[in-house]
């Protein structure tokens, strides 16, 4: 996982890359991505007609591809992209290609130091993890997930073929869950959002047993109750207990292992999330129509908004922050039930300082990007900015942004907020 203690926390600003330097012979440069520590900036560049290269801190390397898409950095700072050569697709990790080529690749996922990706080979579907492809591929696969061990993967897979418009065949249940390529023997009408337990030994997901009956299945075993609808399940950390929002009589509640824990009084309830110690269960909920808020252990914050997204917990799981959209298309950040002053045109996902006293995020207003810490602007404004990061002692904040052609990283004092 990400260890920030060895990042450069010396105060001050450093220009890492001037993109003007890598524009030579380049037809265009795509969006810059930066590593979590801010030391590396990379972008896919079109270097010639139908030729693409990857520019990392100004260095193009030798590799060129017919296409390169979906770049991203892992938490450890590896640059991953999907590239195609001779009509085959490859995973590129720090310019190294995984050995096998595929018909198509998509949905890069990073977790626990590993990289996983969805694959299509000869119109058969599955996954490839850290360079290894499933032995079994399927007629279709989606809803991919990657476990915290960086090795385990799962997906919803179609285990029986279906002809055109065979509605009754479909309703008989032709989908299942494949964990590391092996399918459960149980079949369902639909399968959504599989998720791993922390030890990656169990998988839970939403299943639709008939057109009308939804429930949760854990390792193939369904809960003993069906619901009118359910949303994504979560494992309680350190246990095999599964919690999920369930809809009963038009209202949402939270069930654990098939027993209702939170009474069904919510107009909406989704994105459940446990604190790491399993003590607090958080979710985004609505107390009434058009009234969204954050819910902690079945208690809502006192403020509501038309829209709430991006629920993020503090490291101890006692506090939370979420993005709220107010009427008039203005955004703000709500931290522990109170909204930051000021309206923004966009707020990006927040981060907590390790001690939980500070929250930082990128905010945009009139095309200018600022880092906000506890609601106040921190440092200069940029043409584009990246998610900030707090130092392990919570005293400093790493600010990353682009002004003109210059990408810089700055370490600023975060104690004054």
């Amino acid at each position: 996982m990400q260890d920030r203690s060895n990042w450069d926390w010396d105060p001050g600003k450093r220009v890492v890359l001037d993109t003007a330097k890598c524009s030579e012979g380049v037809q265009w440069m795509e969006e810059l991505h930066v590593s979590p520590d801010g030391e590396t900036a990379a972008a896919i560049c079109c270097t010639d007609e139908a030729e693409f290269g990857i520019c990392v801190n100004g260095d193009f390397g030798e590799d060129r591809y017919e296409k390169a898409i979906c770049p991203t950095f892992t938490p450890e700072g590896k640059y991953v992209a999907l590239v195609s050569q001779d009509m085959e697709w490859y995973v590129s990790v720090d310019r190294e290609l995984w050995p096998e080529g595929y018909g198509f690749l998509w949905n890069i996922m990073v977790n626990g130091g590993g990289v996983a990706v969805a694959v299509q080979q000869d119109m058969q579907y599955g996954m490839c993890v850290n360079g290894e492809t499933w032995e079994n591929l399927y007629d279709n696969a989606n809803n991919f997930t990657f476990g915290p061990d960086g090795k385990s993967v799962a997906a919803a897979v179609q285990v029986e073929p279906m002809g055109q418009a065979e509605i009754f065949k479909f309703q008989s249940g032709i989908f299942s869950v494949a964990v590391n390529g092996e399918p459960w023997k149980e079949q369902f009408v639909n399968v959504y959002t599989p998720v791993f337990s922390d030890d990656c030994a169990s998988v839970a997901c939403q299943v639709r047993r008939s057109l009308y009956d939804y429930t949760i299945a854990v390792d193939g075993k369904v809960w003993n109750k069906n619901y009118n609808c359910v949303w994504e399940p979560v494992f309680k950390p350190g246990t095999k207990d599964v919690f999920a929002p369930v809809r009963i009589a038009g209202k949402w509640g939270m069930a654990a292992n098939g027993e209702l824990q939170w009474e069904n009084k919510w107009t909406q309830l989704w994105q459940p999330q446990f604190s790491k110690d399993g003590k607090n269960l958080w979710a985004i909920g609505a107390t009434g129509f058009g009234k969204f808020t954050v819910v902690k252990n079945n208690a809502p914050w006192s403020v509501t908004f038309p829209v709430v997204t991006d629920l993020v917990l503090s490291h101890d799981g006692e506090k939370a922050a979420a993005i709220a959209k107010k009427s008039g298309d203005k955004y703000t950040l709500v931290v522990n039930g109170s909204a930051w002053a000021g309206d923004y045109d966009m707020i990006f996902p927040p981060v907590f300082s390790p001690d939980g006293t500070k929250v930082g995020c990128v905010a945009e207003k009139n095309g200018k990007y600022n880092i906000l810490v506890n609601g106040k602007p921190c440092g200069e404004s940029f043409d584009r900015a990246f998610t900030p990061a707090f130092s392990p002692d919570s005293a400093k904040v790493l600010v990353k942004g682009v002004s003109g052609t210059e990408y810089s990283r700055s370490v600023l004092d975060a104690t004054g907020f």
């Binding site: 038009g250 107009t267 009434g288 129509f289 058009g290």
Partner: protein, 220 residues
């Protein structure tokens, strides 16, 4: 006969009014509760502005698409409803009853000959509706037995009232019959098609709010 008259204008009248008022309240409260619980995703959009705008538009004869495309029905329905509401309230014979039972004193009542004509208009309108139901396929197709009962119910106090006023047949008998049909008229408003009287404003206001607020077009 006199005893019967006393009974119908006494206990039965109170009963009739009671059913009408309590029934109307019950219906409205029931519908309101269902609306805000089961139809919360609709109730949210209720708007005074667009609701009243819609009601206003539909109160003007020949203004809306529906009225324009059905001119004859429009004319008849406006006359029918206006007479239907004004006559029972402002009839001089009734004014005495208002005074007697509710202590309400009117400054003005309909001149009897006008009321008489209005009564005939209501009866004529009902005949028109009946003919329409029989002769016009689009209405015939959707007519249920209920619709005939309602029409009969609506017209009967007007017929009996008219006959009583003109002392045709036995007055005593007619007036008793009149009161009975009149009370049935009232009492059944909440429990028949006539409940459109209670709901019309709300259904209009609701659809007006949806069209004005969400769909941003006129609902007429």
């Amino acid at each position: 006969m006199h005893d019967i008259y006393n009974f119908v204008v006494g206990p039965l009248a109170w009963f009739g009014w009671g059913v009408f008022i309590l029934g109307a309240i019950y219906k409205l409260v029931y519908a309101y509760n269902k609306f805000i619980t089961k139809d919360a995703t609709s109730a949210h959009y209720m708007s005074w502005k667009f609701g009243l705008r819609s009601i206003g538009a539909w109160l003007i004869p020949f203004f809306t698409t529906g009225w324009k495309n059905n001119p004859l029905v429009t004319a008849v329905t406006f006359v029918f409803h206006i007479c239907l509401i004004l006559v029972p309230i402002f009839l001089s014979a009734h004014a005495i009853l208002w005074q007697q039972f509710f202590g309400i004193e009117f400054f003005w009542t309909l001149p009897d000959n006008v009321a008489d004509i209005m009564t005939l208009l209501v009866i004529a309108a009902c005949v028109f509706f009946a003919v329409r139901r029989l002769a016009y396929p689009r209405v015939k197709f959707i007519t249920e037995a209920k619709d005939w009962w309602v029409l009969l119910l609506v017209v009967s106090p007007f017929i009996t009232g008219y006959l009583a006023y003109h002392q045709i047949f036995n007055y005593q008998f007619m007036i008793v019959l009149h009161v009975i049909t009149g009370l049935a008229w009232l009492a059944l408003i909440p429990f028949s098609r006539l409940s459109h009287m209670l709901f019309a404003l709300f259904t209009r206001a609701y659809i007006g709010s949806e069209f004005g607020g969400v769909r941003k077009v006129k609902d007429w």
